[in-house]
């Protein structure tokens, strides 16, 4: 197959702004963001769903952009790392990553941040995790053990995990306790 008839029109709302592109169905959301829309903040690590560097929020839920076809995101809301700050003002979680040394080379950081934001939403609606003591009832308790388990889909080869967990813990502790 070749030629333009194999291309599809794809409309995405990226960081609050409607964007359109034409792409073959085989183009991943990750490649669409990076190569077609110029949003290179989202990183390509393993390109097979194992490292989490490409994590973005799709309608508010964290997903691996490398395993998502761009056409599957048709008409949906995509939030990438570029959508977190307000002008020059960092998102509180971004500021906490800086303050807590939650990064070294920075390659996994956009995925870590998007993953953490999606994870907090999951936590707030009461979703248990594999380390939640009582899966049958009640809400999970906010802890570093829960954060580590819930962020296990994001690898950091620099090993900045302690800083990452601390940044997430500090940023959301008050919010999730409410």
């Amino acid at each position: 197959m070749d030629g333009d008839e194999t291309h599809m029109s794809i409309r995405l709302r990226v960081n609050g702004e409607w964007r359109e592109l034409r792409a073959e169905p085989r183009v991943s959301l990750l490649d669409a963001l990076r190569e077609r829309l110029g949003l290179t903040g989202t990183k390509k690590g393993c390109n097979q769903g194992a490292c989490g560097a490409c994590t973005v929020l799709l309608d508010g839920e964290r997903v691996n952009a490398c395993l998502t076809l761009a056409v599957q995101a048709q008409g949906r809301e995509v939030t990438t790392i570029e959508g977190l700050a307000t002008g020059d003002a960092l998102h509180p979680l971004q500021a906490a990553f800086v303050a807590c040394d939650g990064l070294q080379c920075g390659y996994c950081t956009p995925g870590q941040l998007c993953s953490a934001l999606g994870m907090v939403r999951e936590f707030q609606r009461g979703l248990p995790s594999a380390v939640t003591a009582e899966v049958q009832s009640g809400r999970p308790a906010w802890s570093t053990e829960e954060i580590r388990e819930r962020l296990s889909g994001n690898l950091c080869r620099c090993g900045a995990y302690n800083g990452i967990v601390e940044a997430v813990h500090q940023t959301f502790q008050a919010e999730v306790a409410r």
């Binding site: 194999t6 599809m8 097979q48 691996n64 599957q72 248990p128 594999a130 889909g153």
Partner: protein, 330 residues
């Protein structure tokens, strides 16, 4: 990745018509396994029919059972209040699988259709009877630490990678499917196959059939159930061995028992021999050991995976002990 055409189905009829008129078409759920396999060139469909917007409901049945739509995301199943309360083994199995991101993408139907994670299946320079019938198997004499110890054949020693399906096997789930020739129900235990001499066929689903839902029959003792997964790291890894179990003890004896194993066979392995030993016997560690022994009696190890046999025995005993009210958490 080879290019393909894509259509998003807005009805079951539309999905079945699309798959029927397009040779080489496949259904697409969350894509977490299929897209990866397509990128590796292992799967090469000419067309994808996206069915992820169909059958997205979980219906609570008056009899205590549950009907889970094939398009429901894994996260939604694990977090569903009724699943957590009546079938905690299913919540735990899903939460111990993959990562948060993947669970948000993966559907129930797609989870059932996962293909093996055998390294030789994924490596198109290796021989694999599952990829290419009659090619031979490089796993049998290769690095086979993650491979099967039960129900394997000389043609294929691959394991089924799903955690969810192991819980479904213990829960006696039924898979509802629909095709051009009508609807049918396939017991979960008959849905996946043992390899025999046709390892290229993973399931009994026909190519033109669509998974509609998974039905869980009521299980009065389902609340006393759990899933334990043993793996090489504490999170985000496939099972070496896993155990799904539910247990009812009355007057010190096993009144009801359900037991299934993951990571050990080409399909989720329902441990019926162990269940026969358990039923009516004293709910003691000694009984649990006998049950585990009975189930693993026919297991055979390859060069690198024989450890799974003892690991499965011990994990069975640990989970049953815990369900009987002994032993530590998790």
């Amino acid at each position: 990745m080879k290019n393909f055409s894509y259509v998003s189905a807005d009805s079951v009829g539309g999905a079945l018509a699309a798959i029927g008129r397009t040779p080489g078409a496949k259904f697409l759920g969350g894509g977490t396994n299929l897209v990866d396999l397509m990128r590796e060139g292992i799967e090469q469909p000419d067309a994808l029919v996206d069915v992820s917007n169909l059958s997205t409901q979980i219906d609570d049945r008056a009899d205590g059972g549950l009907r889970i739509g094939a398009g429901v995301k894994n996260t939604a199943v694990a977090g569903h209040a009724v699943v957590r309360e009546r079938f905690p083994v299913l919540s735990q199995a899903i939460l111990l699988g993959a990562s948060g991101q993947i669970r948000n993408m993966a559907t129930v139907g797609g989870n059932l259709m996962q293909r093996t994670r055998c390294h030789y299946f994924y490596d198109d320079a290796a021989r694999c009877n599952k990829r290419q019938s009659g090619a031979g198997c490089d796993a049998v004499g290769g690095f086979n630490r993650i491979h099967a110890v039960l129900g394997a054949s000389e043609h294929c020693v691959a394991t089924h990678p799903s955690d969810m399906c192991v819980a479904l096997a213990a829960l006696d789930a039924t898979v509802h499917v629909e095709g051009q020739q009508g609807a049918r129900r396939i017991p979960l235990l008959d849905f996946h196959r043992l390899p025999g001499d046709t390892p290229q066929i993973d399931t009994t689903l026909r190519p033109d059939e669509l998974i509609m839902a998974v039905e869980l029959p009521p299980l009065p003792f389902g609340a006393n159930s759990r899933y334990r997964k043993v793996r090489d790291r504490a999170s985000y890894a496939f099972a070496l061995v896993s155990v799904a179990a539910a247990l009812a003890v009355e007057d010190g004896r096993v009144a009801h028992a359900r037991l299934a194993l993951g990571g050990v066979a080409h399909k989720p392995w329902r441990a019926l021999e162990a269940e026969r030993v358990l039923l009516g016997a004293a709910a003691t560690t000694a009984t649990f050991r006998q049950a585990a022994e009975a189930e693993l009696r026919h297991a055979t190890g390859l060069a690198h995976n024989a450890f799974k046999i003892e690991l499965a025995r011990r994990t069975i005993v640990a989970v049953l002990d815990q369900l009987a009210g002994r032993g530590g958490p998790r």
